[in-house]
Symmetry: C2
Subunit: 628 residues, 2 copies
């Protein structure tokens, strides 16, 4: 609608990377306490300020001796030494050894400067002196082995000596580096500061999570602010969230300018509204420089890079999937770099594309895909795309398949390399696609690492047929048909019917009332088994009345209102939006609504026949009702 | 020395794992704010409480229409509709569409309930009505394409519908999950609590980093407390550090009991002192149960597992390398598990053992190894072991090679699998072994990811010969000899001599004074090139005096005091421990000491001849003086 949204010359992803690399985001250095240093990166070399250990240290329990006194000692001919003292870790040696003396010593204790070796306790025998009138010695020890000078002594500085290089600049501090720094007595270290990254929310329609939405006014929850703030933290930055409410353009401009003055990088995101973007463009034009606008990546085309008052600025697309995709692929690595963190190794998985996916020439396509292992253990990738505004794509996908700008499509069966969202991503252990059912959802709580795409019975049937789903969740007539199969993992019944307000104010008593009475209705979508039950019942009623289902449907106000979840129609009843909703007895009870039963539906979860032996499928079978 | 330290029946690593698995560490659940949820694991299923989107949402900029009005429209024969309103994101539609009407609409805006499709702006032409006296319409739009109901409309609940399963229990919360939770309006989530892990320091000889040590009294800095606390945090636990100072046994027992009452797991560690361990054993015996003592793992034998007042307890070995090895291999995975975090995938690297390393039958050996790439890009592993008390092993190693209890040794050339300390570990880009030299240390600040083992000139020569070091740092006569080589990457000179207190109170004027005057001396170790210079000078003096070097050395009080770092002797002069130290002019200056020059030493950094083309070696050459 606006000139700003036309992108005549899209830049390549490489140019975007170079432009981001050219921004000045680096925040300098700071000193942090040792206990806060984990995960930080040293800004300067740390040299040892002391010898470690700071003294000649006994490496064994035993006796400190003059090595020369032991020369010639053996099992059969031990050397007898007088025990003149004992030294434990943390003791200051009190006695100087003369030739013929030994000092009992513990691991970690100071070896007296007059000794030069330690004999292990296992090679000695402590005893009373031989009965001899003129032996004034209280204790003696037989040493049964000869030791060389330095034996079992860790010399001062042998671990690391004063002045030696301990850790170089650029070192990532892990528990091991904290160990070495502790040994050196260092309790604070110079590290690269974490870049402060402003996350500015710019949409009038955005409402923070936790607050109520006015759906009718087009309000939605602000997704990007929190997700990107978490991504900034993950990349080693410090997110600074600037909440902008209201539609005062000068106030929004002031917020962005304040963010630029307080942070090392400003990210705007969160809005698809043209007016909000207009403000951003104006601020960049007036107070900074537009460096890049529009990139040949899908999703993510409308990315904007520039400066505001000299501070780096990136405008992310409004849709969460697009915003997070651009953030993850391009911006997060730049933040990591500014924080001097080592780059993450992109974790990839080789997979086979399960279904054909078209692409668009001229743009790098990042296809979100989910992963599933087939019966032979091979990894399949299937496209996850519920529309560009969908947030469930974020969690239903495991990674992306990059498709070159000059490729038109990826075919089913093509080998692809999946860039995982993180190295810890694993394919779900079992993938269930099909009817949205609360019993199934609860049962999955007892299954490790499941994925459940509740896209409807028809989707489940298709996905199982296409070799994607491990199991299809079927309801309606499809479930009845499936019962004969050997691959049923579990099956159960559920009462279906009409959900009405408590007290049933319209006195709805059955399907006929829906057709005949002046009530509004919320239906389910055609993918659902529940909708198939309703349509079958309408067929039966039409037969009774000698008419057609379509004719009856035309009489139902809202028959075409096809909502997507098992609770959606009931919620509309609860919210007073409609009078009657298609749903389940359990849903009505949960929402304190009344219920007019129309019949008993069946749900059957049916495995793909090549997946019966997958451990996750077996787990699912155990968790399901009647699952044996 | 104590009965406790005898381990007649060492348990296998598997028994240790099972014993740890049997401990009750699980801390229950808690609710955290969305912004604190990253990295946490959901304790319960999160269902969608609302339809997302909550309204039929325009997926494109364009015009909301009744689809039926567009049927038959084409490029050549557009349909003309009246534009009766416009709706932006965040607006509440004000006007009901009649047949023939269109509403200008922005991406993200509410599609009026009286419309059922959106025509993209690209497929329309907005214009003034044709001049016609009785046309009261202000704006019309030509629609040049037919659309079906639902086109470019994201139906309410199409992303996720009320009641649907959004995220299951056990889900790790990443920025993507935070995005979905935001969309659902969730601002706090139930997560598994992080186990509170007490880290109890129990050694009288331990001094916190940042405080001064009394070396003579055997004090060392407390390494384990901070390193293990960092490890606990990395594993998903909350470390609670209990500092114990002093040697009051009843107070130490009280500290351990308090830790047991306040935490989910108590770790003691940090001491090798028998008395401290006695207290721990007594507390476990009196107030709990000893479940396992002694495990057939090297390092880590004296590991103790039990309970104290019903709380899980693990006693780690005292030496940092042992303590952290047991912690990393056995305890950290258990803490991760208690925090319900997914297990880390152990990152491994296939390598070739560079040198032979003996093992010990009957115990699983975890050999700390460093990694280096040879000239052909193959990865070599070399043992890193500076003695069991060394902390530099922690940072000089990249991982461990596990060696079975029934294997005696790993031979040079054997293929081994290295378990990396973390998946982000990379071999250093260049490995320099040899003389400890401050100029080299500074130069390495300009080289990415170097490793410098300043173990002395002789070590460097050996390591280069053995095919381990990329480059040897040579000083003393070895450096002179190396100058003819084509493989010299850089070379420089340094003044060497005697470091004396400021003002030179003993009027030391040269080497002869060291022999003849009554002064104490701190020497360097025989690995160093500097020591070789001293010995050469003593040879010359001996020749002058017609005696032997050994005879002169006998006259030097402290000739045998072989310290390990270039600064170590000078530090002893500064501390007043000795009168004279062997060292460099720069060191004397840095410590405000005086310097008696005895000669000019040379340092030469010499590449291994098969490593000249390694990028890290080239970087090193560029960074070194005279390195061209």
């Amino acid at each position: 609608m606006s000139d700003h949204k036309e992108f005549r010359d899209l830049e390549t992803p490489d140019v975007l990377r170079e432009t981001l690399a050219g921004l000045d985001i680096e925040p300098g250095t700071e000193t942090v306490a040792l206990d806060d240093a984990r995960g930080r990166v040293l800004a300067e070399r740390v040299d040892a300020g002391i010898d470690v250990p700071g003294f000649d240290r006994a490496a064994m329990d035993g006796y400190a001796v003059r090595a020369a006194d032991t020369f010639g000692a053996s099992e059969t001919d031990p050397v007898e030494l007088e025990v003149v003292d004992s030294v434990h870790a943390g003791d200051r040696p009190a006695v100087a050894l003369e030739s013929g003396d030994a000092v009992e010593i513990s691991t970690g204790a100071v070896v007296p400067s007059t000794a030069d070796a330690v004999v292990m306790v296992e090679d000695t025998s402590d005893r009373e002196p031989d009965a001899d009138g003129d032996d004034a010695r209280e204790r003696v020890v037989d040493v049964r082995t000869a030791v060389a000078p330095g034996t079992h002594v860790m010399a001062a500085g042998a671990d690391i000596a004063a002045g030696q290089r301990a850790l170089g600049p650029g070192t990532l501090v892990t528990p091991r580096e904290i160990g070495l720094l502790s040994a050196l007595g260092v309790d604070a270290v110079p590290v690269h500061a974490r870049p402060r990254v402003a996350v500015v929310s710019t949409g009038d329609e955005l409402v923070p999570p936790g607050e109520d939405l006015d759906h009718g006014a087009g309000e939605i929850h602000d997704v990007n602010t929190h997700a990107i703030a978490a991504g900034v933290r993950e990349a080693g930055g410090v997110p600074v969230v600037y909440e902008h409410v209201g539609d005062d353009e000068s106030e929004m401009a002031a917020t962005i300018e304040r963010a630029a003055s307080e942070c090392d990088l400003v990210l705007t995101s969160g809005s698809t509204s043209a007016s909000a973007m207009d403000v951003v463009y104006r601020v960049v034009e007036e107070r900074g420089e537009r460096l890049l606008h529009g990139v040949a990546v899908k999703p993510g085309k409308p990315t904007l890079v520039g400066t505001i008052d000299g501070t780096a600025y990136v405008g992310l697309p409004g849709y969460p999937v697009s915003a997070l995709s651009i953030f993850r692929t391009f911006v997060a690595p730049r933040i990591r770099d500014a924080a001097a963190r080592p780059p993450t190794r992109t974790a990839t998985v080789d997979a086979t594309m399960a279904t054909r996916e078209r692409s668009e020439e001229g743009r790098l396509r990042l296809i979100p895909v989910g992963l599933v292992e087939d019966g032979a253990g091979a990894t399949l990738a299937y496209p996850v795309d519920k529309g560009s505004g969908a947030t469930t794509t974020l969690t239903a996908a495991d990674g992306v398949v990059p498709v070159d700008p000059d490729t038109n499509y990826v075919d089913a069966g093509d080998p692809v390399t999946v860039e995982l969202f993180s190295p810890s991503v694993r394919p779900p252990r079992v993938l269930v696609v099909g009817e949205d059912d609360p019993t199934l959802s609860r049962a999955l709580d007892d299954v490790a690492a499941p994925r459940y795409l509740a896209a409807g019975t028809r989707s489940g049937r298709r996905s199982r047929r296409d070799g994607v789903a491990d199991a299809a969740a079927l309801a309606g007539p499809d479930a009845d048909d499936a019962l004969a199969s050997d691959d049923v993992l579990g099956t159960w019944e559920r009462d279906w019917g009409l959900v009405v307000p408590a007290g049933n104010p319209d006195a709805v008593d059955g399907l006929a009332a829906l057709v005949d009475a002046d009530v509004s209705f919320a239906n389910r979508d055609a993918e659902s088994g529940l909708r198939a039950r309703l349509d079958d019942a309408l067929d039966a009623l039409a037969a009774d009345r000698d008419t057609t289902r379509d004719a009856l449907a035309d009489e139902i106000s809202g028959y075409a209102l096809a909502t997507r979840g098992h609770q959606s129609p009931a919620r509309r009843v609860a919210d007073g939006v409609v009078d009657v909703g298609l749903g389940l007895r359990g849903t009505a009870a949960a929402l304190d609504l009344d219920f007019v039963e129309l019949g008993v539906d069946r749900v059957a979860v049916v495995a793909a026949d090549d997946r019966r032996d997958k451990p996750g499928v077996r787990d699912l079978e155990r968790a399901l009702p009647d699952g044996g």
